[in-house]
Symmetry: C2
Subunit: 213 residues, 2 copies
């Protein structure tokens, strides 16, 4: 059995969950409440010494970590449907678009970083939210500059890892109150992606450990 | 002609420079002084709208960006010597190790982030250095937990993208005054990597735009 170690709020786990859904991989989730620091429990550190979700256990001798490494592994072992373009330049482009959020934005706003902002600089919740909003806005501008006009997908009108990344970026932007005004290309692609069943089912709010409202 | 857009201090550019050296790709460098904000010059924004180095121009219809996307492209188009293991699980592992610094550490300490720390929280140079040192130390601990005892390479005693990443992590750690005490496995691998000619020649201090001392 393949186990996805997760936390409902985790955008990186959301990216992996979409890819698993699209590839039709059957998996179970094991949730860890990062808001209570459960990622530092000994049992989970044995799975991922870095104490971070997502981790994918049971598919390989050692658990897989890091959303982009997990998704590249899925692409290699479950090639259909393809989430990377057929040409090397196209692959480089969608990989770079993936990293616009997975490297340039998301790592700046994860709980461990906001905890350090609070501890070192006295950043209260509002300042932390403002910080996060700033970086998501920067990322939106970077995506907007790269997207073709009238597109419904990030690259070549074909679903790719760039779309998975953009979907996670949009959830993060919404979470921190960032408006999509001024980013019409991003908004159009995002709306189209949200309608895809495998994306919709992966949404953080629908996960078993999400608060019931 | 392949052009690498670079800045001597850029650790992401250093990673790409090592890979280009190892693959034997002939390239020219075009330097942009990020300390003067030259990455926001119109001419460079036409190359990379995100205003970040590295960018690799001339090899593909559009310039390539993001160190890991560029290196994956190099691996696909210049397969020898291989910088990814032959097995999918091994590839996932070295990709995750690459991202330990390229996603989890380095984006937290780049100039644009330290500029925001200063502007928003009044973080002076010492506080900025302390912030950077903290994240490099966290990364060292994550690498130390993953490295085999007595290893001279990150994975399977074979050179890979994980080694390129670790070498860049070590330069960053040194730059911010982080000691390797307590990280003997990292120190051993790092010493071995520094002796490799393609790594040594790529060192930031040896680049044409580095200050002469």
């Amino acid at each position: 059995m393949i186990i996805l170690h997760s936390f409902w709020l985790s955008l990186a786990t959301y990216r992996v969950r979409i890819a698993l859904n699209l590839k039709g991989v059957v998996f179970e989730e094991r949730t860890h409440d990062l808001s209570l620091g459960r990622q530092r429990d000994a049992a989970f550190l044995a799975v991922n010494p870095a104490g971070a979700v997502p981790a994918l256990e049971g598919a390989t001798p050692e658990p897989l970590t890091q959303s982009s490494a997990i998704i590249e592994w899925l692409e290699e072992t479950h090639p259909t449907p393809a989430l990377l373009p057929a040409d090397a330049a196209g692959r480089a482009k969608v990989r770079a678009m993936f990293l616009l959020t997975a490297a340039d934005t998301h790592p700046l706003v994860v709980p461990r970083v906001r905890a350090q902002l609070k501890r070192r600089f006295g950043a209260d919740d509002d300042a932390g939210t403002d910080w996060a909003a700033h970086w998501f806005r920067e990322g939106l501008a970077a995506y907007e500059a790269l997207l073709p006009e009238d597109a419904t997908r990030c690259h070549a009108e074909t679903l790719s890892i760039a779309d998975i990344a953009l979907a996670s970026h949009l959830i993060g932007a919404a979470r921190f109150g960032v408006s999509l005004r001024g980013f019409p290309r991003v908004a159009r692609v995002g709306e189209s992606l949200a309608a895809i069943p495998e994306f919709a089912a992966a949404h953080p709010d629908l996960q078993s450990d999400a608060p019931r409202t």
